[in-house]
Subunit: 175 residues, 2 copies
């Protein structure tokens, strides 16, 4: 189906061997960023016919895994995302009748989040699609290799969670 104005990457990408380029030490960087975007777009397209988006899908999945009545702040923390971004997604999910916000009886600032039955049903359908996409994209990797890959990604994610070294040298040697 549609592929926008994206020209075929006819071997051009393969031609460029970043590792032996004048830019060593960035081989992971470009691939991680590109893969993040590519994977997302792919999933987005597959979800489209169901009316769901990736942005809405992730919170739903996490919600289903968390305790009922979680606060928005907690969900945002789990998603490692911004609370303000979450607000807008929840607006959509709530309007679609998939999620419910109920005021917290103790803390009147907070909301308790619940997935509706319709939400649970939809979520299972989305999950099938998501799992199929992952299977397609990881095709050719053995189960062991996938486990290993996940471990590496987790490692890097953990590194990223640490504070950035010491971001002091504002005008460092890099002009």
């Amino acid at each position: 189906m549609t592929d926008g104005n994206r020209p075929q990457a006819t071997g051009l990408r393969a031609l460029l061997n970043i590792d032996e380029s004048p830019f060593p030490g960035m081989s992971v960087t470009f691939r991680v960023m590109r893969l993040g975007a590519v994977w997302r777009t792919r999933l987005e397209r597959e979800l489209k016919p169901t009316g769901m988006t990736v942005a809405g899908f992730r919170p739903m999945v996490y919600l289903m895994m968390m305790q009922e009545g979680t606060s928005q702040r907690e969900l945002a923390a789990a998603l490692d995302t911004d609370t303000s971004a979450l607000v807008r997604v929840l607006d959509l999910l709530e309007a679609a009748g998939l999620v419910e916000r109920r005021p917290d009886s103790v803390d009147r600032r907070a909301n308790n989040l619940f997935i509706t039955d319709a939400g649970r049903r939809k979520c299972r359908a989305f999950h099938e699609i998501g799992a199929r996409v992952e299977a397609e994209l990881t095709e050719g990797l053995s189960a062991g290799e996938i486990v290993e890959l996940v471990a590496r990604l987790e490692h890097v994610l953990a590194n990223a969670a640490r504070p950035p070294a010491a971001d002091m040298p504002a005008g460092g040697e890099a002009a």
Copy 2:
């Protein structure tokens, strides 16, 4: 420095073991997408003091690795991105005097792209920062593990480049 409205992921992420959740087969999906965003944001923050953005950095690097006088279409293909997205980035880079568009003498629709000397100089500075970020994020992984990681990512990227199976069942079994 700033971290917006993002609440601390106080072990919540770790608590959620996606692999043993009711959503098997999505362990790579969430990590890849999240890591893409996290890595990008991290690099974005480090580049900020230099006035460069990730969006502009990537095309510059690729341009330096490609033949002089590449067309925008070719660059977009190499970046695996949309030509329309590239147009706007090039506008900025050209305004900053880092890149130059010259009309193709043969095909009057096309432009030939060139990096200016200033562009090359800047690019080297950006590269130092990018390499440092990658070093920080991959800390704790051995050289061999990084090579392996790159190979896995490359494998998945190749899978993603293939057409999506057969996207026929529009209204499939997934309600």
